[in-house]
């Protein structure tokens, strides 16, 4: 209940941030750009629209995580707004869970708005068969953003906003390359291969949330894939928040 209050407050704060309107404006501009570039794509205009539109959801979501999420906790510590909250009867893990849930809800709203705009655009242009794939890809992109946000909350609870942003961006990139890291591990000798394997196991397996190629072909992934990806995201987020709590629980606020 308390976590929901904090989540609601975080959502309200984030939804009034100019950054959010900037992201939505950039999303609209991206969709417009796909319409202008479509005729140059030699018959692949719809595919280009779907691919770029869905990539835009992840990219703009990532920008929001880096700009807002990585300072989510550290900004509260720097500005001492956290004193007003932690001096009340609430546990620190509840606070962290609430912050994560609030920002995740904000990102899901952005993803939903962009997914809906993309679907509407294609439906209006007579390509309604792409809509189920776009809906599925949007849901998976939202899961992906929840995972990246949990990493941002962990780093934000431990470090400064700039370093948190760098760490989160690094985790996102390594997560996107997690299959490549496993491939590298097989090709290099012992210390390097161990390191690559360790990195591949620790960073989130983000390609599991990427079904953009299927959506761009008006196809859907099996429902089981979405369920497994959802469960994976939930477990990964829980692990990150548990780590953040462990670090945050005994932290002194000087």
């Amino acid at each position: 209940m308390i976590a929901l209050l904090i989540a609601r407050n975080t959502f309200r704060e984030a939804s009034r941030d100019r950054m959010l309107f900037g992201a939505l404006g950039a999303g609209a501009a991206l969709l417009l750009a796909t319409q202008l570039l479509g005729p140059l794509a030699l018959g692949e205009g719809v595919r280009l629209t779907v691919d770029l539109g869905l990539s835009g959801i992840t990219f703009l979501g990532l920008i929001l995580v880096l700009m807002v999420g990585t300072s989510l906790v550290s900004k509260e510590i720097d500005r001492r707004t956290i004193y007003n909250l932690l001096s009340r009867p609430l546990a620190r893990h509840v606070y962290l869970a609430g912050k994560w849930a609030g920002l995740t809800a904000t990102l899901w709203t952005v993803a939903l708005a962009m997914g809906a705009a993309l679907s509407l655009l294609l439906a209006v242009r007579g390509h309604a068969e792409y809509v189920p794939g776009i809906a599925q890809a949007t849901v998976l992109a939202a899961f992906e953003l929840a995972v990246v946000t949990s990493c941002a909350v962990l780093f934000s609870a431990l470090s400064t906003p700039v370093l948190s942003a760098l760490y989160t961006a690094a985790v996102f990139l390594l997560g996107q390359w997690s299959y490549d890291l496993r491939a590298f591990a097989d090709r290099f000798p012992a210390p390097v291969s161990d390191l690559c394997r360790l990195a591949a196991n620790v960073v989130p397996n983000l390609p599991v949330f990427n079904v953009r190629t299927l959506a761009a072909s008006a196809q859907c992934a099996p429902a089981a894939h979405v369920l497994i990806a959802g469960a994976y995201a939930a477990v990964y987020c829980a692990c990150m928040l548990a780590l953040a709590t462990a670090a945050f629980e005994s932290r002194d606020f000087k």
Binding site: I2, L5, N9, R12, R16, Y83, P89
Partner: protein, 331 residues
Amino acid sequence: MPETRHPSQPRGAVTGDEPAIRTRGLCKHYRNPWTLRVTQGLADLDLEVRRGEVFGYLGPNGAGKTTTIKLLLGLLQPSSGGGTVMGEPLGSIASRRHLGFLPEQPYFYDSLTGPEYLEFTGRLSGIGAHDAHGRARHWLGRVGLGGREKLPLRKYSKGMLQRLGLASALLHEPDLLILDEPMSGLDPFGRRDVRELILEQRERGATVMLSSHILPDVEMLCDRVGVVLGGRLVRTATVDDLVAVRQQKVEIRCTGAPLVAMPERWQTHVTRFELPEGTTFVLDDAHDLNDVLAWLVGARAVIRAVTPQRPSLEDFFLSVAESQASEQRTA
């Protein structure tokens, strides 16, 4: 043992011997992670704040006031020692149920409005949604911010933020109020309003612990004060006890004495000021008062007023701080 209270009894006026705040040997050390150098924030604090009293916590900057408050709230973990707040372990969630806290120079969420912020913090303190809505509007008006319901907090002045912070600390009618520099940033009207609110809380039966640099306010409000210096609590007493032990000065104002030379035997403890409206003599104590008056009358001076000067808490505080500093230099 469960707390028993008649419905008509104020929430803070809990019967029982357990003080509102009790610490035993509370210490806080900070270790620099790079140099490993240890800095003492607070040493061996044994503090008791009784239920229903207004307790002033005094000390210069860096003395350990805010460190103590943060330890009581659980924002810092003690290096050693412990204590209770309203009978609950220090820093526990249960202890924070009884608390209202105003931090020094409070900051809030920029894009929220006053009522939104108060509702949010009220609900975090356990008030239901409907009740929080009503109380938020009531307290906004009570601290003089009524009519600004739609103004985002980024447009609030420093004094307005201080008032909002106070409303947020009081909204849930806590048994114990901890106020860190509550008068900071307020104009004289604001200070008067805060003084009235604090006295109102005492009437309600709440315990108030406040730290402040504005000593006349502390003197006016507090039943007892504690003085912390260099991370150590050096004295706890009632304001009257603290100032009564000091010598009482006496001021004599007269006219017609500018050319009269003062006898040499009084030079060390009688100070003379020549002012346009007459001459003022300040006696360090009342011991020589009759002799000085007799001498002035004999010298044909006209006595206009004889005023005993009650030593202020400020005098006491400065003398304790100076004596502590000289002891440290000697050591």
